[in-house]
Symmetry: C2
Subunit: 207 residues, 2 copies
């Protein structure tokens, strides 16, 4: 017992999150426990509480990583072009991520934190970074003075996409095939953007 400087604090942190990620992939969120993480990295449970406040905090940090993975994945596939085209590609890319990493997506969005828990600032910034990818794809639809509207639209699209994934992945909607998830997302994009277009004042008109 006692100080084993086999690993630095940072190393331990990375090891713990690696282990947590693996466990989630193998047995799902429900099977993720402090004891399993500890034993997998070869330390005692106590050590984990030296790195994280508690299990919830550890999961927040794991989710931070998953958000990064998702962001990088989306950015890699990003295609500049007409908003409809660009956004559609983005959504396909997102859906592909959820299909490939269903359980990771589950921890990210469907793990319930205690009611009172506030998500840390660095976490919200990671989310904002994701939202900015969506904003980028719809930029052409908004004049520079409509930044607020653009942000707002990105929020709505992000939420809508999330809702489609959330309800269909857990079958909380009845049988939904993977194909119809795409279709629903497509319908959301097409119609929402058409609505935005039709309701935007022509820019030149006021001048």
């Amino acid at each position: 017992m006692a100080r084993r400087s086999d690993h630095s604090r940072e190393e331990l942190y990375e090891m713990a999150l690696d282990a947590a990620r693996e466990i989630v992939l193998e047995v799902g969120v429900r099977g993720l426990t402090t004891r399993k993480v500890a034993s997998r990295i070869g330390y005692s449970v106590g050590t984990l509480y030296n790195l994280f406040e508690n299990l919830d905090d550890m999961i927040v940090h794991l989710n931070g990583r998953i958000l990064d993975e998702l962001h990088d994945w989306l950015v890699e596939d990003f295609r500049q072009g007409e908003p409809e085209f660009s956004l559609y590609a983005l959504v396909e890319s997102y859906l592909k991520f959820t299909r490939k990493n269903r359980t990771l997506w589950n921890v990210l969005f469907e793990y319930r934190f205690p009611e009172d828990q506030e998500l840390p600032v660095w976490y919200q910034e990671k989310i904002n970074r994701l939202l900015r990818v969506i904003e980028r794809s719809i930029t052409p639809l908004f004049t520079p003075d409509r930044e607020q509207d653009r942000q707002h639209a990105a929020y709505v699209l992000w939420c809508g996409l999330h809702g489609i994934c959330a309800l269909s992945s857990t079958d909380k909607l009845g049988i939904v095939s993977s194909k119809s998830i795409s279709e629903m997302a497509g319908s959301l994009i097409t119609n929402y953007l058409a609505g935005i277009r039709s309701r935007m004042q022509p820019v030149g008109a006021a001048v």
Copy 2:
């Protein structure tokens, strides 16, 4: 010990779900345990396993009840009229329900069942009943031969609304006030419906 016919099987079932509902309201989903339900109804844990397969199954049944409550709540507030008007009222009513019953809504939509678990048919039917309320509000937008499209649109709206509630209630989006939830939902409805309207072929034209 042994057979205590103090209560019929049906009575026990109702008592258990009543207790479960109360516990969720008091301490949230995380605090809902078989042991607490058992002690609250004055029976042993074993008896619960005589009524339900397991805790997950009990929660599915609890959710069935919550779906009914939500349905009745929405139907009571239903207002016939222009789709935008009708749908907007519906969404406000839904949001009001989530605000008043945050923890119930949490069990309903954010409790994670095991990956493999299929939701029972009677459960999916309760969801369909909800979807039909939405369909009703957008009926005027679709000609009778476009039933499929109408259903599809109801799905998308339902999912979108869910996504907005899910991400903002847990603050997975950064700070979102109750007012902006309404705004986002409003934006979804207005633009999505505008898109549908603008893309619908005028009915008379083909004739």
